[in-house]
Amino acid sequence: MMSQRGTELSDADAREEARLEHQTDEGAQEMRPTETPAEQELVVTGMPWPEREGDGDTMIINMGPQHPSTHGVLRIMMELDGELVLRVKPIIGYLHTGMEKTAEELTYVQGATNVTRMDYASPLSNELVYSMAVEQLLDVDDQIPERAQWIRMLLVELNRMSSHLLFQATNGMDIGAVSMMIYGWREREEVLRLLEMITGLRMNHNYIRPGGVAADLPDGWQEATLECCDLVTRGVQEYDELLSTNPIWVERLVGVGKITTDQALALGVTGPILRSTGFPWDLRRAQPYLAYDDVDFDVIYTENGDCFDRYRIRLYEILESIKIVRQCVERMPRGDYRLQDRKVTPPPRARIDESMEALIHHFKLFTEGFKVPPGETYAAVESPRGEIGCYLVSDGTGKPVRLHIRGPSFYNLQSAGPMAEGSLVADAVAIVSSVDPIMGEVDR
């Protein structure tokens, strides 16, 4: 019955919309020229080109939404004066799939499957922040077993490694170091293989769930993890050797796309971009969650705030993550991997065959989910790209009233404008690449 879906616009609604359209700049997402461009002189012969005068003879060009260096479907409009970038405006929404609307139709059990698809390069951070928000509303955030916390930390750090390795690969590709792309993907694949061994999937794991994690670690995970750490360490050393002192790489990145701490803070920028400006802010250290106050690691930061620093920070953060992962392997506590509250986590498979209650609990959890007391909360963790936050509002039913993910890429992308203005077109590619936006998270 199509006619029942949605309410037809009443007259009052139509008037309201007309009024809104009048009052806003509706229909103007795109960049408009600063002034009417002067009539161009056509040059058809092989004569020397007439010399340019900087008299506002500018051109607006589009980069994307289908462009090899825009990391998905990002479209960037640039106003150029010759090779010089005057203005930059990122235009987003090409990957908007209404995930926040979808979340309002899903139970809290199903919600993790939804959020994990937002930042598809680091899905476990999304799951973690969502689970933390749900647990806060359920008031069970202090009862999560220690082992579950450490498993979460292990996985999030492995995910940080894979995400930064992906950055190394795509950054190399954007800047023209194509062999770097192959190396980055190669090591990332090793991490993904390990994640597949632990969670069952390479990406979009749905492994961290409200109440704990989906399953315990498999047999032999220690050996596999340590082997992976060795491989990635070797890889990082290789990249460092290949790129960090490579004159072409250095010339291409040092001093490009500078941003200051004040600018970054004002623009809501977090993560490696903020740390590259000499501001050592990392939520893992500043507001510890999970067991981060229990492990030894360093917060990497640099002073220059340019593309080279952002590359370097992400490279060295891989090593810090490896440090944490090794400590997780060494010190993984025993115990439950999830909360033993049958209203939140399902019973073990074996119990379902022998216990009526277990069967009922299992059935209830996977059909209607659990109810969450009314309230609102904001949870935040440090994802590979910066602070990822989850604002969750519940009205006491089994589905959230509002689930909002504060995607770090969404805010970081705004810094591409100030960074690229005044630089060359070729540098704009390097700058967008160094922001490392994941469009799934930007558009949600």
Binding site: G93, A266, V269, A286, P418
Partner: protein, 219 residues
């Protein structure tokens, strides 16, 4: 008309924040990436305990006597009037060293049966929510304002925190809440010609009817 985002000269508190962060982390050698030692930080944390679950006091009690402080799961939430929205942000940034506005979003409470609003707040259909973070104090604060359905408009925070540009456009796009003073209030996620505001509760999902070429047609 110019839709680009420009960052003006930084307000003074940001400089404070930076020096505080530097004090917390003694700078290493300039050439290589610096690191921050775990032990140093432990001391700093003892000096400045993270107070996300701080008591019911808040900084703006004298300045905003009508604003209500509420604690939600250990997080401080301030309910303010729409007229004080920008004033509050200005106060938080300039006087209280809240260095970042991390997020602006909205909630539609049209179908909400059990709303958790503290006493003294008149619930309206929409709520606009902003999350502030102070780096020097390592503290968070959430501000919520009620927005009526018949005239959904709040002052924009772009002048105070330029980073909320995209976020406010998103709220406008998905909820139809206007931000007075925003320099480029256009749709951001949905297409320009989209009718309606998708995240409103009375905006049904998948409202676009499926039509087939040359349909209907007698067989």
């Amino acid at each position: 008309m110019p839709p680009t985002l420009r960052v003006g000269s930084p307000p003074a508190p940001l400089a404070d924040a930076r020096s505080a962060a530097e004090a917390a982390a003694p700078a290493g050698e300039v050439s290589g990436p610096s690191t921050r030692d775990t032990d140093d930080q432990d001391e700093n944390e003892r000096e400045q305990p993270p107070s996300t679950g701080a008591g019911p006091e808040w900084e703006g009690r004298e300045r905003f006597p009508e604003a209500l402080l509420h604690t939600s799961h250990g997080q401080r939430v301030v309910y303010v009037d729409g007229e004080q929205w920008r004033e509050l942000a200005q106060f938080l940034r300039d006087d209280e060293r809240y260095t970042q506005c991390l997020d602006v979003t909205a909630v539609d409470h049209l179908l909400d049966t059990a709303r958790a609003v503290p006493d003294g707040v008149t619930p309206e259909r929409f709520e606009v929510v902003a999350n502030f973070l102070s780096h020097p104090r390592n503290q968070r604060l959430r501000a919520i304002t009620q927005v009526p359905a018949d005239d959904p408009e709040v002052p924009s925070l772009v002048e105070v925190y330029p980073g909320v540009d995209f976020a406010e456009r998103e709220v406008y796009d998905l909820y139809g809440i206007r931000f007075e003073g925003h320099p480029d209030l256009t749709r951001i996620l949905m297409p320009d010609d989209w009718v309606g505001f998708p995240l409103r509760k009375d905006d049904a999902p998948a409202r676009v009817p499926v039509t087939f070429k040359e349909d209907p047609r007698p067989r």
